[in-house]
């Protein structure tokens, strides 16, 4: 964190003289990579998407984005040491395509899942595990600080957590509100126990960031808070190290967008096979439902 604060302060301090201008760059021409994203959690079936990267052009529209989805991949799973592959089925939602299970395969705590994606002659593989969940002790509603915009209508959620021993646990926090379909994450969604191993701690449950991506004008002062009357689902997942490394590097890279002083961050894919970037994520999770009183 300190690195980013430092770098952004560096930007601030140079305001007295620095200037910025648009330039043209001849981007290198290279084959576009495959992007794979897959999840499996206790009690839920697997969900996988496959897409392609896009070379740098000045504007990328929603249609361009939807055209990146790949619908001709063969996506299969094997569980633990099983040799029988379970093939996922491709389903389309408009131009977007997803791979899901139709055999009622549900994620189980302690199982290891091997994912194989065969596409256009390439084979990409990755393995994840559903680790035993480490439930939060409680999630408590607290008033938002007075300084927030609309602080009368906002609250903050605080999680209490007894971090289990030994050192080397990794977690991901996701939240969902009311009737949302998908869980959302904050700008920083992952935690490790490097400095809190075995301790009873409390931390803020930061709400999702998607509102800022969808709407530039969203009031950043409300970021992370919840509204009175909301029903909030807090998903707290134990994750494995390769997955942690993926999110860690991915979020560090996202955090460096627009920060010219940041060093290059290369996202660490969990997949084997050249020309692929992606994550195969097992969640060993618990979900806390928090009903925030209207008053």
């Amino acid at each position: 964190m300190k690195r980013y604060i430092l770098l952004s302060l560096l930007s601030v301090t140079m305001f007295f003289s620095s200037c910025e201008k648009d330039i043209n760059i001849d981007f290198p021409v290279a084959p576009s990579p495959y992007v794979i994203e897959g999840y499996i959690e206790n009690g839920q079936g697997p969900f996988v998407t496959v897409s392609r990267g896009i070379s740098f052009i000045n504007e990328i529209s929603n249609d361009d984005f939807l055209n990146l989805f790949v619908d001709n991949a063969k996506v299969s799973l094997t569980v633990n040491n099983d040799t029988t592959a379970i093939y996922l089925k491709m389903v389309k939602l408009g131009n977007a395509s997803f791979y899901i299970d139709t055999t009622k395969l549900l994620g189980q705590i302690g199982n290891t899942y091997h994912l194989k994606v065969a596409v256009d002659g390439h084979i990409f593989t990755s393995t994840t595990q559903i680790l035993p969940p480490a439930p939060l002790d409680s999630v408590v509603v607290k008033p938002a600080p007075d300084s927030r915009a609309d602080s009368d209508s906002l609250v903050q959620l605080t999680a209490y957590f007894s971090e289990p021993n030994p050192l080397g646990n990794y977690y991901r926090l996701l939240t969902k509100k009311n009737n949302d379909i998908l869980y959302d994450v904050a700008f920083n969604s992952i935690y490790d126990d490097a400095i809190v191993n075995g301790k009873a701690i409390q931390f803020s449950v930061i709400g999702g960031k998607s509102q800022f991506q969808n709407n530039d004008s969203a009031d950043f002062r409300k970021y992370g808070y919840f509204k009175k009357g909301d029903i909030v689902y807090v998903k707290w997942a134990s994750i494995d190290k390769p997955q942690y490394d993926f999110w860690k590097t991915f979020e560090a890279q996202s955090g460096s967008f627009g920060n010219p002083f940041s060093p290059t961050v290369i996202v660490k894919s969990t997949f084997k096979g050249a020309g692929c970037l992606g994550v195969w994520a097992g969640y060993g999770c618990t979900i806390d439902t928090v009903i925030i009183p209207k008053n």
Partner: protein
């Protein structure tokens, strides 16, 4: 190897005992007549023999000659030489007090090196800059910065626009040993390196050694930057100071006991914070935020007797950032402090010894607080050292140095302490690293024949990491699988290294020579840096069982020639460096808090080679230099860039500068600097990738490292120094500088600006460049009384 060393020792010692006539010594100190300040590296020449030696770091010289009458000339560039006839029938003490040319006749000079040294000494790749002479050159924002002037010399590259950090001959930023009165300065930059920690008013001189490192120096691969603080005028009281655009300086100096002891106290502080304050409204989110740095230099010296002199010098500098946001506040201070205590003792005319006790400390801290959250991160390095250095002047043909040094290092990794709500997150113990470093050396600079002069030396280096320490063993996915705990004082890993140093000069004519040097160096402490440049957050980490000492063998050869009665010095130097055990972060490191930062390292090799061309005119009204370097710096790491060789970030194909200074009359001096360099290497992604929720990422090819170049860098700076008043009692000068006169928008950094949202209105991608310093005029007022 063993035979080589024996041969070397034999070579070292043999010429020392060649003569057995009746001999006496003439010895003493060479100093500035006005201030009593030491003139480091001044020359004493015996006219009859056409031979001479340089005074040592304390201005001491000693020449032993057969009985006879000799004309002895003491000189220092920019000073009027003194010639004295000495009847050597017994040992003679003779101190020389030289008068500055600026007092004798106002003649500006840029460099204060005896021009003959260029081709006569065995030393290669060495330049000394005299602070007073650098002050007429253009400066950015009015701050004279010796480290930035060094960057104008061939083989030295800036680590970024306006930055005081530098790379020497393709080496990393941590491979430069920066010494302030012999104490190691671990972070030589303020404000992320935009200003160096060296207050120009407190500095006497700076010497840069980039090749042919003598045996008394060790511990870094690329260079030594030896900065000497002023001792203070021991004749009368003076105040020197300046008011600039962003900082002010004040230095006080004077005798404690006239002629015997003196003090120098210098202070500098920036006031960007104060200047900005009126423009920041009290309701703004930036209100209460600010930045400043300050420096304090203190030096005291006392002559106890004819044979003993003691010095105390100290430096304390600090940067402070304050950020007050709505949600949280951050405060982070960082800085260096160094203390040096030295005792010069003369055993006899021929044997000079200096004993030093040193302390050096670098601390970085960041504190953050929020309503239920209080947090502090800190890291640092602390050294306690002692060393003893002997200068032995057996006769005029030999100058022998030997000595030993010991340092106890303490490295504090990035450590977090604090509270979250009611729970404390302070670690039970801080996993510090402790190490012993020691060295012993011997060298002799001697005339083998009339034409051949040799400097041969050998340095033994020892490094040992000791407990307590916990080493975390990671499994193949990087999860900690085991811990090895070392007890207090337990030996964890020991390294012994021998470093031969050899340079030879062959004089080809009255004013030309060929020199060659062979240098082996090891580096036991390394800077873990993600950014290529140095940031105050970067950690120093010692060699350990995981991190092997960085290792360099450098070969260099050069032709040195003076023209027009030593008015013009020229040189061409070629070098080749073979580097091993270099350190980089593993591919996907993001700079997280790491229990063992070494687990994030990967190791490789490198090489760098190049040619340096240099023409310098040091005397006359019109003087300056032209330097050009053509060089390559390559790195090969098995685990980076698919194992393919890549160019280092500081690979620079062309790098040149033209530095000119012209004294028009007693009132006006003009300076100009032109710099041209190939663009720095950087990384470009090849694709943009998206996840199903619309968030985007950048995709880099596996061999992406440093494949692209910023556009070439160039700029011209000019300056005019106006002496408004100059008497013996009072001096007032104005320096007007324009940085980047033709406003070339140099690329400091190129980045991709990505705006919008691909799920709705679409995404806009725009490459942008940032220019840090466009056209910048500045004015500084300097005074002296």
């Amino acid at each position: 190897m063993k035979n080589k060393i024996l041969f070397l020792l034999a070579l070292l010692l043999s010429p020392t005992f060649l003569f057995a006539q009746q001999k006496f010594s003439v010895s003493g100190y060479i100093k500035d007549a006005f201030s009593g300040e030491t003139l480091i590296g001044s020359t004493v020449i015996v006219r009859e023999l056409g031979k001479g030696i340089n005074s040592n770091e304390y201005g001491y010289y000693s020449i032993t000659l057969p009985t006879g009458k000799y004309q002895i000339a003491a000189s220092f560039l920019g000073y009027k030489p003194i010639v004295d006839t000495i009847d050597l029938t017994k040992n003679v003490k003779r101190n020389f007090y030289l008068k500055s040319n600026s007092i004798v006749s106002r003649e500006a000079v840029v460099l204060a090196e005896k021009a003959e040294n260029n081709f006569k000494s065995t030393q290669m790749g060495t330049q000394t800059l005299q602070m007073e002479k650098v002050k007429t050159l253009p400066v950015i924002l009015g701050e004279v910065d010796i480290l930035k002037t060094l960057q104008l010399l061939p083989g030295v590259q800036s680590s970024g626009e306006g930055n005081s950090g530098f790379y020497v001959r393709g080496g990393g930023p941590d491979q430069n040993l920066v010494l302030l009165d012999e104490a190691t300065v671990y972070n030589s930059g303020h404000l992320f390196g935009f200003f160096s920690v060296f207050n120009s008013d407190a500095i006497n001189s700076v010497t840069l050694i980039k090749g042919g490192m003598p045996a008394e120096y060790g511990g870094r691969l690329s260079s030594v930057v030896n900065v000497n603080m002023k001792e203070g005028n021991n004749q009368s009281y003076h105040a020197t100071g300046g008011v600039g655009l962003i900082a002010s300086r004040l230095t006080l100096e004077g005798p404690i006991q006239k002629g015997k002891s003196s003090f120098m106290l210098a202070a500098r502080r920036t006031y960007i914070d104060a200047l900005i304050k009126p423009f920041v409204s009290s309701t703004s989110t930036l209100s209460g935020s600010g930045y400043y740095f300050y420096d304090l230099n203190l030096k005291l010296n006392y002559q106890l007797s004819e044979k003993d002199r003691v010095f105390f010098s100290g430096y304390y500098g600090k940067d402070q950032f304050l950020f007050k946001g709505e949600r949280f506040g951050i405060k982070f201070p960082w800085g260096n402090s160094t203390t040096t205590m030295r005792w010069n003792h003369l055993f006899n005319e021929k044997l000079f010894v200096n004993t030093t006790a040193l302390f050096s400390d670098y601390v970085f801290k960041i504190g953050a607080s929020q309503s239920n959250f209080d947090f502090e991160l800190f890291s640092g390095v602390r050294d306690y050292s002692t060393k003893v250095d002997f200068d032995y002047f057996p006769n005029i043909r030999n100058q022998v140095k030997f000595g030993a040094a010991y340092t106890f290092h303490t490295f504090t990794p990035t450590t977090a302490t604090g509270t979250i709500g009611e729970s404390s997150i302070s670690p039970e113990k801080i996993n510090r690293q402790y190490a012993n470093e020691a060295a012993a050396y011997f060298s002799n600079d001697f005339d083998l024949t009339e034409k051949i002069k040799i400097n041969a030396g050998l340095r033994y280096a020892f490094f040992q990491q000791i407990g307590p320490y916990d080493r975390y063993i990671q499994n193949d996915v990087g999860t900690i699988s085991d811990t090895i705990s070392y007890g207090d004082g337990e030996n964890i890993k020991t390294y012994h290294r021998l470093e031969p140093r050899f340079s030879i000069r062959f004089q080809t004519s009255k004013s030309a020579s060929i020199k060659a040097a062979y240098t082996v160096t090891n580096q036991f402490v390394n800077l873990a840096s993600l950014s290529g440049s140095t940031l105050p957050t970067d950690l120093w980490v010692p060699a350990s069982s995981v991190v092997k000492p960085q290792f360099c063998t450098q070969y260099s050869i050069g032709y040195f020639r003076n023209f027009k009665d030593d008015q013009y010095e020229t040189s061409v130097e070629l070098y080749y460096k073979d580097l091993k055990n270099l350190i980089e972060f593993k591919e996907n490191t993001t700079g997280r808090l790491s229990a063992n930062i070494e687990n994030d390292f990967t190791f490789g090799i490198g090489r760098s080679y190049g040619a340096e061309f240099f023409i310098k005119k040091s005397v006359g009204k019109f003087n300056g230099w032209i330097g050009y370097t053509h060089s390559y710096a390559e790195r090969t790491f098995a685990d980076l860039n698919e194992g393919k060789t890549f160019f280092a970030r500081y690979d620079r194909r062309h790098d040149g500068s033209i530095v000119l200074s012209y004294t028009l009359n007693n009132k006006w001096t003009f300076g100009s600097v032109f710099v041209y360099g190939s663009g720095a290497a950087f990384n470009l992604p090849t694709s943009l990738v998206f996840f199903s929720n619309g968030t985007q990422g950048l995709y880099f090819e596996n061999d992406y490292r440093n494949k692209y170049r910023l556009s070439p860098y160039h700029r011209l700076d000019i300056s005019a120094t106006y002496t408004a008043k100059k008497t013996d009692k009072y001096e007032s000068t104005w320096n007007f500088s324009i940085y980047n006169v033709y406003n070339h928008l140099n690329q400091y950094i190129v980045y991709l600006d990505i705006q919008g949202d691909v799920l709705n209105q679409g995404l806009k991608v725009q490459p942008k460049q940032i220019t840090v310093f466009p056209f910048i005029p500045s004015v500084t007022w300097n005074f002296k009384f």
